[in-house]
Structure formats: C-alpha cells, structure tokens
Symmetry: C2
C-alpha cells in the first residue's frame, strides 16, 4: 500500500451518516449515505457506521486490510486525544462514548476522531470555499449548529480538542434552555431544529401557512426543509421564521467577527441550502452591528462542498497527521 | 544604544493613561499615571500622553533621542497595520484617529499601536498569570470590557489586527444598546460602567443602600468602586448588583470556553479587584453551563500585573517585532 491509497472517512451527524472513500487529492471515490436515527441508541448507530464502511469498501472491491486508518468526524464535544465523544446534544445518549476504542476493536484500523464541524472546516479550507484563506470560521447550520476554526492555516482545536462549539454561545440570556444545558444558545434559536420547532409552535397558535399542507396535515412532520419549501413558494409565515433565524445567525456571526476578525466565514449545513434567504439577513445584521473594520474585511459565503465537507476534511485531517506506510 | 535599553510604552484606556519605561525583562523603571478625561477631546488626551512621556523620561534623566520606538496600547478597535484607532466605545470622539502618524510627527519615534487588552494579554502571558500557558484569553473588565487572545504562544490579532473584542459579543439579544452600536453586548451588562449605571438606576427607584452615603449623596458620583466598597461592607443592593454582573461575565466566559477550549482565562481590569466577589459567581456559571470537557480543563484566574499589564505587554510586543539597533 502506498500513501496514494484512498482514505476511509465517516461523518456522523445528528441526522445522517456520510461514509466515503476519499482520494488523497480530495476526490470522493465511493460514498454511502444513511440516516443516523440516534433515538435507536448508540449501538444501533455504530452498527450502521460499520455497515456503511462495508458498503463503500465493497463498492470499490477493497478489503479492510488495505487500509491502516479511519477518520471519523462526529457531532458533539469530542476529546480528540482520547477518542471519546464526551457529549453530543444531537446524538442523545452519547455520553463519554469511547468511539475510537470501539471502532479500533471492530475494524482493526487506527481510528482518528474529530468534531464534525471542525472536519468540515478543514474540508472547505483544503478543497472548498476557503482554499487559500488562512483565517476562517466555518459554521454548520443543520440539526444543530457547530463550527470549525482555521487559524494561520491550521485547525484550532483548543487545549483538549473541543474548540469550535460556536453553536453553544449564549446570545439570548433569557432565551430557552439548549440541549447542551446552556441557555439561549445560537443553536436553540437558529438551527434547523429551532426553525421547525418555531413553525410548529406558530401553527399550534393558529397561524395560517401552507406548511401544514406540505407536511400532509401533520404538524410534527414539519422540518426545516418544509419551512424552506414553503418560503420558496412565498409563504409569509415561513419567510418570517427564516428571517428570524437568519437574524439570530447574524448576531452569532457578529460575535465571531468582533472576536476573531476573520477573513472569511463559511456557512454550511442543511440550512445553508436556503441560500440568500438565510445569508442576506445575516449579512445585514453584521453590517449594522459588528465593528466596522472587521465587518468590512470579512466575506460571509456559502459552503461549496455540501454534505461531503465532513468526510473530505476528516480524511485531510488524518492524511496530515498520519505518516504514510 | 543597545537592545538592553528600556522601552517607552503607553496604555491609553477609557479612564486612565499609564506611561512607563520598561526594561527588556519586564521591569517598570519609571511610571506616570494620569486620568484620560476623554470628554475633553482627542487633542487634550494626546497632549496628556506627550506630557506623560516627558515625565517618565525626565524621571530617568533620559532624552527622547535615546529611544527608537514607542509602544502604544489603546482602548478600542485598532488597525495595527495602519496605526489607526478606528473606533473606541470608551474614548468618545476617537473615530479613525491616525495615532501612529500623530505620535511619530510629535516625537520622531517609530510608533507601534495595538489594542490595550491585546497588550495586557501579552503582558500577563510573558510576565504575569499566564507564564508558560500557550492558549489563553485575557479579559479586562474595567470601564469597558476588552480581550486579548493568545494562541500557540502568540497574540492572535485576526486578519486586520482587530481581533479580541470579546466585550462586544451579544449575550442578551433583547438587551440595551451598547456604545459600539451592537445590542446586549457583554460590556453593556458587566463592565464597570454597567455596574455604576445599574446602581444609579436602582437608587433612583428608591432602593436602600449605603452607596448614596459613600457617594456623598450624589447618585451621579457612584462608580463601580463605590459599588465594590459598599459590597465589602455587606450592602445587600451592592452585593446583588455585583452578583448580576458576575453572572453576565460568567455567561461571556462560557461562550469563550465553548468556542476556544482555552487552558486559562485571566480576568483583569479595575473590576477584577473585586476578587472572589466577581470570580466565584462567574466560575459557578461556567461549571453549570459550559461543555464539561473544556469547563473542567480551563482555569479562571485573576490577573497578576494589575494596571501595568498593558504597558508591559505593549513593550513586549514591540520588543518582539522591532529589531534591536
């Protein structure tokens, strides 16, 4: 085996698991997509991850013995050194799960674990919107909100590997409690979950909207995608909900702009597919509220790699860390 | 002149100007302290800075011609490259002031300009509470709230030199407007100014307190120091006001802990003199709300250099940047 062999990478999110064989220059050679369904428990999710690895290696007709490493990006607070998912607001039940140890036993491959948003930041930095940018922050707005910080061209992980939890900054001290235990976090106000919850709340109060129709009359079926679809059809309530979430996102970005004075902020995750509907109000808030100097300097852009950012970044992370055989 | 000559450094804050001759190993050889009185205008403040330089050089019987550089730490958003104070919530009227150019003309010395809290972060990192710590955040809680970020042993300044404005992160999206134009900033809730304002507000509403007596019956004379003095005498209202500010500070620190996963957070500035009264509730909030992994890892400590952190850090900044003659 040479260092030109593909890398195995998994992106374990709150909603979906993306598994891929990635070439050293960042090409996806085989890919598996499956829902996470975290409510079925840790073991069921790990079984799905193992099946996905089987699926992508089979697609390329490669046996596991051809690999030496596997890169896993996981949603939540990760202890990268120990390879533990210490807590994960969007993977309920994942408390101090020694994922590195579990995967090494199951696969016989050296396992590297990083936070999913950190991985996506690396992916966008090496292969996507952030190529050539040394100081950037990647924000993923999906089920939850996560982040990855690139400083001087390197992933900044903090003293124990958990840096970048920008979804869990309080922006509304009197706001609702977040899954993470903190109060009024950006995530509880602007994530996909927050948008769906707000739609359900307003519909329960009798607001008129086509969302109910799109969800086949079942309010609990309304997701961020439903809100987005309704907004694209001009539904006033859906537009207002997205505008509010985008404003919260803008406030979070203001905080990052004032603190980091970054060259670029990349917005990814499922919600980023809303495009200008999300980014335009957020940019407006930054122009109005952030310090002028950093606000004029920063570019706030959509991601380029979509759902592949996590696996591409995780693969790049391991490629830089691991010595080729 | 050798590189062992002392350095000239000024710390221009919203309340006070500290000017010093600093030895290369971080000893203060001569020092001048004067009030800033920014309400008298930019020119008056610059006159005071020039007089202070005269004062410290005279104390050591040294002429300006013996120096080649001067280091200035200033409160506000600084464009370090251009040497401009672009905006400063606590130096009203300072908008795009080309301080580097002004001082170079007045003194004939190469002038280096950085943010005051960034300078203090460097000071504490080289000579104070943060010696040997590579990843730390310094928070100054005084008239305003500022910050300095040390990453991998280096001051992180962002792409245009204005990083570290942690006092201007929104933590209460429905809170009061801040001098900086943003809403519900940490500074407008937990700074010395905020504490004094809150005391005045509650007294105007008829709350009982010894603060009025300490301020000789004049509510407008009540400062953060008055609140602190009253709290030390057990005044319930003063204690409650400080507890509230400390809680806000804790929320700000939670955000930084979740985002940076730093090894240490150093709290300095005038309010830090309140000691445990300020730090204990803030630490409690961090323990309760931040992600467990980074919360358990971080040490939240008081500063060690007091009012000298800024001049010591500014001197160190220039010492590292400037080649010795």
């Amino acid at each position: 085996m040479t260092s030109q062999n593909p890398l195995l990478a998994i992106d374990l999110g709150g909603s979906k698991i993306v598994t891929a064989l990635v070439s050293p220059d960042g090409e996806i050679m085989a890919r598996d997509y499956t829902l996470t369904l975290p409510e079925e428990g840790t073991e069921a999710v790990i079984e799905r991850m193992l099946a996905a690895i089987d699926s992508v290696t089979s697609k390329m007709n490669m046996s596991l013995s051809l690999f030496s490493n596997i890169a896993i990006a996981a949603a939540g607070a990760i202890d990268s050194e120990k390879g533990i998912v210490t807590a994960s607001p969007n993977l309920p039940g994942w408390l101090d799960v020694p994922l590195k140890e579990i995967m090494e036993k199951a696969l016989g491959l050296k396992t590297f674990l990083i936070n999913d948003a950190s991985a996506a930041a690396l992916g966008e930095h090496y292969f996507g919107a952030g190529r050539g940018i040394s100081n950037l922050i990647y924000i993923t707005v999906s089920t939850g909100i996560g982040g990855g910080i690139i400083i001087d061209g390197k992933l900044y992980l903090g003293v124990s590997g958990s840096a970048g939890e920008i979804g869990h900054m309080t922006i509304d001290i009197n706001g609702p409690r977040c899954n993470c235990g903190n109060i009024g976090c950006l995530e509880v106000l602007a994530s996909g979950k927050a948008v769906a919850r707000e739609a359900q709340r307003l519909i329960a109060r009798g607001s008129k909207t086509i969302m109910l129709e799109l969800a086949e009359g079942e309010p609990q079926n309304i997701s961020a995608q439903t809100v987005s679809a309704a907004a694209q059809k001009g539904d006033t309530l859906a537009l207002a909900i997205i505008f509010k979430a985008a404003t919260y996102l803008g406030v979070g970005i203001v905080n990052l702009v004032n603190i980091f004075n970054p060259e670029m902020i990349i917005v990814g995750g499922g919600m980023a597919q809303m495009g200008k509907m999300l980014l335009a109000p957020a940019r407006q808030v930054v122009a109005e509220r952030a310090f002028q100097l950093p606000a004029q300097r920063v570019r706030i852009v959509p991601n380029q790699l979509g759902e592949n950012a996590g696996v591409l970044g995780a693969a790049a992370f391991v490629q830089k860390l691991a010595k080729p055989l």
